[in-house]
Amino acid sequence: MIATALFIFVGCSLWSVLYSFTSSKSLPRERFVGLKQYDRLFDSSRWMESMENIAIYGLCALVFSLGVGFLLAVAMDQKIRFENTFRTIFLYPFALSFIVTGLVWQWVLNADFGIQQVIRDIGFTTFEFNLLASREYSIYALVIAGLWQGTGFVMALMLAGLRSIDQEIWKASRVDGIPAWRTYLFIVIPMMRPVFITTLVIIASGIVKVYDLVVALTGGGPGISSEMPAKYVYDYMFGRANLGQALAASTVMLSTVLIILIPWAYLEFSEKKGDSHA
């Protein structure tokens, strides 16, 4: 079992990294060309656009899903009525495929029938909201759809975090007359640091992989305006038969994930040995 896991997860990753230094086209070949694939990669306007897009998407997705997710969790934690109903509503998109999410939003954002047209029909005839046809803003269509799918999940994690906080803390701060928002800001949020960090790592490693959503919602377009790194890898690997280039791109993705992951894993697991019985 260990051998299999080692072979597949570590062995295969190393294979990909190794062959990213070759000039492999449609089949892997051991003709090493040094860093040439990486030079080409960072010269490619499509790759640079992909990197820029994932930076925008990642930043927006992180800020909004953490921000809105936390606010929703706080709202849900106020002993509200219909808590289960609200939770069900916020979380159901998370059960759906990114393909489904992408296709729904493609329809809602449709220029001829979607939100834009509905608002024009009300009387605002010059209203412009055509993200999918805009080179500048198509990436934000992905942000909107991605947040729709993922924020409920963040809320669920945050709510679990809030619920795990000792009720005595609330009693103490109430006795001291500290307003609720200050208790959240200066006591609860610092206490929830581990929850925030874990959530951050999960969202971030999900963002790096985003692929299906792009395929379903924008197809990378218009032009190359909403391309993403994972799609670059797939297209060069299977569409353009340029394996070396695809593997170089995937190696860059792997490095990004490791940069996020290693400090976290170190923090999370180094002090928790003895957690299992073994």
Binding site: M1, A5, I8, F9, V10, G11, C12, S13, S16, V17, P28, L71, L72, A75, M76, Q78, I80, F86, R87, T88, I89, F90, L91, Y92, P93, A95, L96, S97, F98, I99, V100, Q106, W107, V108, F113, I115, Q117, V118, W148, A156, L157, A160, I202, K209, Y211, A216, G219, V233, M237, A246, S250, M253, L254, V257, L261, A265, D275, S276, H277, A278
Partner: protein, 295 residues
Amino acid sequence: MLEAGPHGTKPRRIVSPHNIMLYGFLIVAALYWLLPLYVMVVTSLKGMPEIRLGNIFAPPVEVTFAPWAKAWDSACTGLYCEGLKVGFWNSIRILVPSVVISIVIASVNGYALSFWRFKGSEVFFTILIFGAFIPYQVLIYPLVIILRELGLFSTLGGVILVHTIFGMPILTLLFRNYFASVPVELFKAARVDGAGFWRIFFQIMLPMSLPIFVVAIILQVTGIWNDFLFGVIYAGTRNFPMTVQLNNIVNSTQGVKEYNVNMAATLLTGALPLIVYFISGKLFVRGIAAGAVKG
């Protein structure tokens, strides 16, 4: 005569500025989350002429189920016009073995990691964490080669194997964490009574770990059903799962766009995970929270 002052605590008013803000925020948020579902359902029940005239939020004037029938039975993906039902059955054929095999292996792994000290268990654990987060893109091509060597590329068996492999890290961690909360005395007592690896697993651990199996099943069923990437690469054209077929139907460039059929198809594809979600309720939340690797 003096009027008696009010006694006891001040009753909480239902309509207070605080509550208006709170529920206002929740309701606005709920609308953002519900609108796309509403639009999907409404659109799938309209005829095309009505869609062209009205707006996407208007309820259907004349309810028709024809788009649903067409999406299931005769919508076209490229050359074939057999509808989504082909993809549905492919997805089922991929789903059932992948879920069963991955959970069987992962539960034994998690149990072993949790109770049995073996050489390299630390290394194994580290690899699993790595495997849970690694971008699939670095493994795609090596796996293509391996499957080709095994003669499994572009077959159902191939895609099932891939799902099993990629499910392994997260599921093993899930079971390991669960078994780690089982009192170790129970295990020691069984050892003293002479029970071995398998006997302890089957007679003691299995009966008490039903909830975590349910969580694992939820996690895997939704995950595998919603997969697109592995299906498109490893399954082969004849075995494309429902998500791939759905995308081919909706994003095909040929012919007139039938938005009502597209939305019916989208709903059909989302139906199974949604049903799982609505039935499992809180367990689903537990499942995804558990899937969110915690040490």
